[in-house]
């Protein structure tokens, strides 16, 4: 493993922040070394300074992508924390459907965004909840978007194939049999669910007004990797991307106190969601 020098820590940490928004503690040299050493070696670099130079000169952005993939945490599972999905099924979706069903002849339009979708488990869980609740989804105009900074995660999410370790974490047997097909040693999401969702690459540090407005935004366990300043910017932008009566769900151990005064927390049973003031 290539050792990182103190002056390189600063350069690489700044570079990672610039391309991903992710803040890495410069006191944790091992974090940089364990995640980046093999990329440096694969690109015949003998130092991280050299890797940085190569990454910046590389027009194909291949090295940058590899670095973002290595640095970003893809920890996710189906129905992570359970609470938010019960909240979605029993409180939020019925209210959104109610609010959007005003006009006769028009399909109620519901837009949901999983802002850090990783390898797709969160958005597929949302789609499964929708399918379970609505039955015939054709009666609605649904748009389910998943975005993530990692190209590899987006590719895997779009493919919708999971190995047995990924499947065993969080997914109920009844959903597995209903919405997945066994494919060799892995499980693939069925087309009826796959067709409900879209994935694309997005860096949350960049502007995203182009995505339009959403009724429900899941932005869970991603801001924890950002500085307080970047977190403030992110949630202000999310407020602008949320309909006035929309719903925001953040990670179960995250807080918006001192981060974004535009949102107020509301409790439903054992979960919390946020709405604009």
């Amino acid at each position: 493993m290539i050792k990182i020098a103190p002056n390189e820590l600063k350069i690489i940490a700044q570079y990672i922040h610039d391309v991903s928004g992710i803040f890495l503690d410069q006191n944790k040299a091992y974090l940089f070394e364990t995640r980046l050493s093999s990329i440096a070696e694969a690109n015949s670099c003998t130092s991280y300074q050299e890797l940085h130079n190569k990454a910046k000169r590389d027009a194909s952005k291949k090295i940058e992508k590899a670095i973002v993939d290595a640095i970003s945490t893809n920890e996710t599972l189906f129905f992570r924390d359970k609470g938010p999905f019960e909240l979605l099924q029993h409180k939020i979706l019925p209210e959104v459907i109610d609010n959007r069903s005003g006009r006769p002849g028009l399909k109620p339009k519901i837009r949901i965004w999983s802002a850090a979708s990783s390898t797709g488990q969160e958005l597929y869980s949302i789609a499964i909840v929708l399918k379970t609740l609505l039955g015939d989804t054709n009666a609605y105009s649904l748009s389910l978007l998943g975005t993530d900074i990692s190209d590899t995660a987006i590719t895997q999410a779009s493919y919708g194939k999971y190995n047995k370790f990924e499947i065993e974490r969080g997914l109920d047997r009844k959903y597995l049999q209903k919405y997945f097909t066994l494919f060799g040693n892995s499980w693939k999401i069925k087309d009826e669910i796959r067709a409900m969702v879209n994935f694309k690459k997005l860096n949350l540090m960049q502007p995203f007004t182009v995505l339009g407005k959403f009724d429900i935004i899941f932005c869970r366990n991603v801001a924890i990797y950002f500085t307080l300043e970047d977190r403030k910017k992110l949630f202000n932008k999310l407020a602008a991307s949320l309909e006035n009566d929309g719903y925001l769900i953040i990670g179960s151990t995250e807080s918006l106190t001192g981060v974004c005064p535009l949102f107020i927390p509301k409790r439903h049973l054992r979960s919390i969601f946020y709405q604009k003031k």
Partner: protein, 189 residues
């Protein structure tokens, strides 16, 4: 590192005894079965980390069948097949059916011990990952209960402060009433 429990299945008594002896010397927990039927009986009564089975055995239960039975009973059991050089194709097919690995005859014990070490390592890592996941879930649910309740409390206090501010700024009330009303709101918060 974990001590693996191993079931040796071979119809040749010499190889069976040799394997048993060598594995026990290396401190593995070993049991033996002289054919597929005996192996099935043992697999149904206790869990083995690894089944080391000969591919070709007399009777209806050969190595492939032992593999299938072991995986069906518990897919966490790893199966290593012992094959003659001529049956490598069959061994590859067995790997597609979930076998962990195969070893060719004559057996190289160093190679066998390396494979077993690898399995023990992976099982240790998997166990660590599961322990970490359990610890994370426990920490997370405790932390989220605290954080969410604080989040609501802060929002309620903010609300009370706004009400107090409105009361204090209300020119239509005399000073004494304003203070009394404000104190009431504070007392209730």
């Amino acid at each position: 590192m974990k001590i693996l429990s191993i079931l040796v299945v071979d119809d040749d008594p010499v190889i069976r005894r040799l394997l048993e002896h060598r594995l026990k010397t290396e401190h593995y927990a070993v049991q033996v079965a002289e054919d597929g039927y005996a192996a099935e009986n043992l697999l149904r009564t206790q869990f083995f980390d690894v089944v080391l089975t000969d591919l070709m055995m007399p009777g209806d239960i050969g190595g492939i069948e032992v593999l299938e039975i072991a995986k069906e009973i518990n897919d966490k059991t790893e199966v290593i097949l012992i094959t003659a050089h001529s049956s490598v194709d069959t061994a590859v097919k067995a790997m597609q059916k979930g076998a962990n690995d195969y070893l060719e005859k004559p057996l190289n014990f160093d190679e066998l011990f390396l494979r077993l070490d690898k399995i023990a390592n992976i099982q240790t890592i998997l166990k660590n990952a599961q322990d970490l996941e359990h610890a994370m879930t426990t920490t997370e649910s405790a932390a989220s209960a605290t954080i969410q309740s604080l989040e609501i409390q802060v929002a309620n206090l903010r609300d009370s402060l706004d009400t107090v501010e409105n009361i204090l700024r209300n020119d239509e009330l005399v000073d004494g009433d304003r203070v009394a009303d404000a104190l009431n709101v504070i007392a209730e918060s």
